[in-house]
């Protein structure tokens, strides 16, 4: 028996259009969206992120030797 699948090309085109609309917003409007996205995150999400970022930067930066609050800057 042949399986039929729905055509979702309209949905995909709508998504693509929405992305273009978002990209066309002003920087200020986009930053406000980012801030709203941040508010949806758990309160300590950026702290978890900071550990991951520190680990990455260990291999990147060779100029700074400071240690603040136990993390290499």
């Amino acid at each position: 028996m042949q399986q039929f699948y729905p055509d979702i090309s309209d949905l995909l085109e709508a998504k693509a259009r929405r992305r273009r609309e978002l990209a066309a917003l002003t920087w200020e409007e986009k930053v406000r969206i980012i801030q709203r996205m941040q508010q949806l995150l758990p309160k300590d999400a950026w702290q978890i992120r900071s550990v991951q970022k520190s680990n990455w930067q260990l291999g990147k930066s060779h100029l700074v030797s400071d240690v603040v609050s136990g993390s290499i800057i």
């Binding site: 980012i34 950026w46 900071s50 520190s54 930067q57 930066s61 700074v64 993390s71």
Partner: protein, 172 residues
Amino acid sequence: MERALAVINQLERDGVIGRYAIGGAVAAARYIEPIQTYDLDVFVLLPASPSGLLTITPIYSHLMRMGYEPTAEFVIIEGWAVQFLPVYDGLTEEALEQAIQVDFDSTPTRVFTAEHLAAIMVNTGRPKDHARLVQFFEFDVINQVILESIIDRHSLNAKWNSFRKRFLSENE
């Protein structure tokens, strides 16, 4: 973010930091769709200390006197987790030199050009950098002649060619 930028501008006026510019995801969002990010990356030229060492300690000390507390490698300034990143190679130094002056609402600031952000992403080369860089091309915000001059100047040709072959469907 405007209030955070005003504080950073004050640091520059006070000589605590040298020239600065915004990089990272917040800068990228100027050119493409909004990106989820936790922090504001601020690339800075650090004034040399008397010993000649480049150190960000004075930035943190100054901000603490202003009432902003460092946490891990960030300082929370007016609700933004701000990370001060000293320019760490010739590419980021050039990106800072050539950053464009813009206003965020009514507050002046600087942001890396799309081409310098792209070159930094080529250089860094993490999966998320590649994904973001693809978006720069998707939204057609890159002047490829300018980008390739930066790539050439900073000897990133191998990484750039690898990216192009993998993600831009170009044949060499």
